[in-house]
């Protein structure tokens, strides 16, 4: 089969960086970012909040899930400049005064992870799930958590952990 042409990359001047403010885990964090910096890269590389994980970087695995203005999103598919002025909650912002968030405790209680790489995204996603209030049954938890992939296969324990935290909320 013939090869496709090499992708032509238009040459444009490097655009100016843009100053924004994110309110991350309750603290105002002024930032200067390029237009193409994702929210995920801003958190990890600019703010050193490496709890949020880069898995697939294409919105397929959910490891990068954070809460923006209380809603769970894939931070790898969000541009930081578009989130200027929003409140971002990451895994680092869930524990309060040295006490784990009920979901963090529930994940420990139920051994809801093996390697742990998907866990920050799973927990942030579950915080969003509980806030949405749409999941009542285990089937509904599974369906509404399907954007978070766990390649170790800890799903049974993840559902049990979420059920425990839902019972407390």
């Amino acid at each position: 089969m013939a090869r496709a042409r090499t992708v032509e990359r238009p040459t444009i001047p490097v655009p100016a960086k843009i100053s924004i403010v994110l309110v991350v885990n309750g603290a105002e964090r002024p930032l200067t970012v390029a237009p193409w910096t994702t929210l995920l890269d801003a958190l990890r590389d600019h703010l050193d909040l490496t709890g949020t994980k880069k898995g697939c970087d294409h919105g397929q695995c959910g490891a990068c899930t954070v809460l923006v203005d209380g809603r769970r999103i894939n931070s790898c598919l969000a541009l930081a400049v578009m989130k200027d002025g929003t409140h971002v909650t990451t895994i680092e912002g869930l524990a309060k005064d040295g006490t784990l968030h009920p979901l963090q405790q529930a994940f420990i209680d139920h051994d809801a992870f093996q390697c742990g790489y998907c866990t920050p995204g799973q927990i942030c996603s579950a915080v969003g799930l509980i806030a949405e209030g749409k999941a009542k049954t285990a089937d509904e938890i599974r369906e509404l958590m399907s954007g978070n992939i766990c390649r170790c296969g800890a799903y049974l324990n993840i559902v049990a952990a979420i059920e425990q935290a839902m019972g407390q909320s």
């Binding site: 193409w36 089937d139 978070n148």
Partner: protein, 338 residues
């Protein structure tokens, strides 16, 4: 991803002005598809015009009893909106059958209509693709084509439209409102998406200088007899092999009005007036449903790996019409198909 400039639109008129002035620019709203495609070098805009803060985020009743959905309403908000849950439950069900809750929280209504195919060759810049590079050739026709279309294909392209929401919108006879330099115009849903023909690079009839502003639903919502049945390789968070939006109004056992649209089978949501005609006025029974499926699939054509979709579609149509007639729509969390 290439370097690009970023600008925010201050209002709808400003957005239209900005896009008209820069042929390399693209609008961005939720970004879930566009940013992904930019990371793959499939989309290479020189400038993004951020429309996400424009006031196009309302779901409101219209004077003729329908509902107008602003283009920026997130998919999740739309699925759970009381007007949609109560009056257009097939639309809510279809939305919840697609993507993940994180993506639905980000993705806009307009962006859902404008999302691009998930054909793996379209995504892979090392391969030939007429949709990505017009005239270069189609790698799918003689390649791996299990996910591809069985209806309305052309020699240039056999890609499918990936949306679930759009299948329900097609069945509901929605209209698309767009704004361009010359003002507003309305496009019927059937005329919004295109067949590939010899111009597969064009997915829709939206002009490059137009902004999708809203989707409007007519009053008839089929709140009792409807279903959205989606068949896919895993139980959640996967694109459809075949999906069916089916809705009807019954008078006793007789079908007074019927709607039937399929996803995963064509370059656009596939609604067939002849198949609906084969249902209208008939008794709601398996023989009627099989006849409608035969009409809809009359010209279906399989390729090396997707011929199974023809039988799958036939059975899915019959099952969906049965669910709709029975008033037992497919649950999107309990995955058993009954």
């Amino acid at each position: 991803m290439i370097n690009f400039e970023y600008a925010r639109a201050s209002d709808v008129a400003d957005a239209v002005r900005q896009i008209a002035g820069d042929p390399g620019a693209k609008f961005i709203a939720g970004g879930t598809n566009l940013i992904d495609l930019m990371k793959e070098d499939v989309e290479r805009p020189s400038r993004l015009i951020d429309i996400s803060r424009l006031p196009l985020n309302r779901v409101e009743e219209t004077t003729d009893g329908g509902v107008r959905i602003g283009a920026l309403v997130p998919n999740s908000d739309l699925a759970y909106h009381p007007l949609i849950e109560q009056r257009y439950p097939m639309l809510g069900s279809a939305i919840l059958a697609g993507a993940s809750q994180q993506l639905r929280n980000m993705a806009s209504t307009g962006g859902n209509l404008l999302q691009r195919t998930r054909c793996y060759y379209f995504y892979d810049t090392a391969t030939l693709c007429n949709k990505r590079e017009p005239g270069s050739g189609c790698s799918a026709i003689n390649g791996l084509n299990r996910m591809h279309a069985i209806l309305g294909t052309s020699e240039a392209c056999i890609a499918t439209h990936p949306s679930d929401m759009c299948v329900a919108l097609a069945a509901l006879d929605a209209k698309v409102q767009v704004v361009g330099p010359a003002g507003e115009r309305t496009i019927s849903f059937a005329d919004f998406h295109r067949l590939p023909l010899d111009t597969p690079q064009r997915d829709t009839n939206l002009e490059p200088n137009e902004l999708l502003a809203a989707v409007e639903l007519p009053a008839q919502g089929f709140r009792t007899n409807y279903t959205y049945l989606k068949i896919r390789d895993r139980l959640s968070y996967a694109f459809a092999l075949v999906s069916v939006a089916a809705a009807m109004e019954l008078e006793g056992d007789r079908i007074r009005e019927a709607r039937l649209a399929l996803g995963g089978v064509a370059h656009k949501p596939w609604r067939d007036a002849l198949a609906e005609g084969a249902l209208r006025g008939q008794e709601a029974n398996p023989a009627t449903f099989r006849r409608a499926a035969d009409v809809l699939l009359h010209d279906a054509k399989g390729f090396a790996h997707n011929a199974f979709k023809i039988d799958l579609a036939r059975r899915a149509i019959v099952r969906a019409l049965t669910q709709a007639a029975r008033g037992t729509p497919q649950s999107q969390s309990d995955k058993r198909i009954q």
